[in-house]
């Protein structure tokens, strides 16, 4: 089989199944069957990635902290160990058979709906991600906007969970989470505006097409794109509540934050939704800045496009685990200052820089101008942030 055929194997398979079913099914059912065939792989692959990530994360964190991490559990009821990669099966079984405790005073309906309201929008976000060549489940004209729209629905779920639990820690966690998500959504959306301006489209598939032909065509390879990519990465970390932005679920302060009162499978759903949100955000970062499913070198295009997507996703996941193992948690005021006094101004500057990049002639002058346009404000802003009250060196006050 040629490389092209292997690349398109899933699309060929889908059309083959549709062609095989066509004589037996009524016409109005065919679009639904086609949609189900597109959705099912997403629903199967990404939860599997989540399951593997839970094990990989614990193993990598273990290595960072000089301990082995989970290395015992293999396939249940056999002697196969798989170096501990059976851990997620055991965890899943445990979550399923645990008792589901609901507080007596809780608002039962809202408490029940909160994890569902988290997982469904997160899964919807995958519909616009181009996972491979011709492999976008829903190529919307306003795909990027759709992604952010469904992403913003997770804030509601966090509120529902925190408010319905009737637990002060849950409520505190929800308030922290919403304040953080609202603040960081702004730089997150603004950092993507440069890319949308340059490609002139909101469709994720067309944005990927605009970055074909090697890594020097990727948006992250331009000065403004590089800056925007890093701002996107920071905002995405905060949006996904990952360390160093894990204040909403800071276990040393407020138990587990908004899902304190959740147990059993509902807790697992929160866990799943959080990680799926992280993967979706990484997928969007890959799509917007790192060439989507394109290979870094034209010669490497023989490797199927979906393999490139998942390789890049794997790098993102390892990066986030590395961050978690390295950084301490921010303080609330540091978190807010970083968002409003540093990231929002800098993302606005990258948008202007992208505009300058668009209208100057290619060459060293353009490169230097745009780089200076970003580096000078970066230095000024970071200096202001560091010397600002309450952000720099910690001061301690003692009782007299």
């Amino acid at each position: 089989m040629s490389a092209e055929a292997i690349d398109q194997i899933f699309i060929t398979l889908k059309h083959a199944i549709l062609g095989w079913l066509a004589p037996y099914l009524p016409d109005w059912l065919m679009p639904i069957v086609s949609a189900v065939l597109s959705i099912t792989p997403i629903l199967m692959v990404f939860p599997l990635v989540f399951a593997l990530t839970t094990v990989v994360e614990r193993k990598v964190l273990g290595r960072i902290q000089n301990r082995p991490g989970p290395n015992r559990v293999g396939i249940p009821l056999t002697n196969i160990r798989l170096a501990g990669f059976g851990q997620f099966i055991a965890d899943g079984i445990k979550a399923l058979i645990k008792e589901d405790v609901v507080p007596r005073n809780a608002d039962k309906v809202v408490h029940f709906l909160a994890p569902i309201a988290l997982v469904i929008p997160v899964l919807l976000a995958y519909s616009v991600l181009p996972i491979g060549k011709n492999m976008t489940a829903l190529d919307l004209d306003s795909g990027v906007l759709f992604f952010f729209a469904v992403g913003s629905a997770t804030e509601l779920s966090v509120f529902m969970a925190g408010w319905s639990s009737r637990n002060k820690y849950a409520l505190l966690g929800a308030m922290r989470a919403i304040a953080q998500m609202v603040s960081y959504e702004l730089p997150l959306v603004l950092s993507t505006v440069g890319v949308i301006m340059m490609t002139g489209t909101l469709s994720t598939a067309k944005i990927v097409d605009a970055q074909a032909g090697g890594f020097w065509h990727w948006h992250a390879a331009t000065p403004w794109g590089f800056a925007a990519f890093f701002l996107f990465l920071i905002a995405a970390t905060a949006e996904a509540n990952r360390t160093p932005f894990d204040l909403p679920e800071a276990e040393s302060e407020i138990i587990a934050g908004y899902f304190t009162e959740y147990s059993g499978f509902k807790f697992a759903l929160f866990f799943l939704g959080e990680y799926l949100g992280l993967f979706a955000m990484s997928g969007l970062g890959i799509t917007l800045f790192l060439g989507g499913w394109h290979a870094p070198l034209p010669a490497l295009e023989v490797v199927p496009s979906w393999i490139w997507f998942f390789l890049k996703l794997g790098v993102f996941i390892l990066f986030f685990i590395w961050l978690r193992g390295t950084f301490p948690r921010l303080r609330m005021d540091q978190l807010m200052n970083l968002a409003w006094k540093f990231m929002v101004p800098l993302t606005l500057i990258t948008i202007v820089a992208a505009g300058v990049w668009r209208f100057m002639d290619p060459g060293a002058t353009r490169c230097l101008t745009v780089t200076a346009m970003i580096v000078v404000p970066y230095l000024l802003l970071s200096n202001a942030l560091y010397t600002a009250r309450g952000v720099g060196k910690r001061t301690y006050r003692y009782a007299e």
Binding site: S142, F146, F148, A149, E155, I178, T201
Partner: protein, 168 residues
Amino acid sequence: MQDILFYLFAALTLLCGFLVVANPFSRNPVTSAMFLVLTIVSMAGLFVLLHAFFLAAVQILVYAGAVMVLFLFVIMLLDLKEEQRRRYKLYGAVLGLASVAGLGWLLVKTLWQSGVGAGLQPGYVGDTKSLGMALFSRGEFLLPFEIVSLLLLVAMVGVILLSKKDLK
């Protein structure tokens, strides 16, 4: 299929909208706010049926995401018990009915003038490009758009001024 979805979303919008203002089971403001979210989402569904994907996405992003979260934040800080104890007042009911009647009359009049059954010709296709063209071309909506942006900026500056405790 489209018709079924239209009736489904329309019924959902009306039902949830009703439950926002007059929920027989609970007078909790948070429940009302949740139903408002459902109303907004089903309205976004109606926009999708009209092929206005951009508008649907913005509807969810701005209203269901940002505005509702702020609503809920404010509700959370209020005293909910007092709100639940409050009874319906006569002048409130009269004023509410009067405004609903006025809006309803406007709606019927508009429908009547456009000719029932003829349907309106779509002025713009709902995709992002034509919307941007309409908003940013001179002679169309450029001036109103810029004025609205300025208004929002003024509001933002005003909020910052009001919420700052000590002005330097």
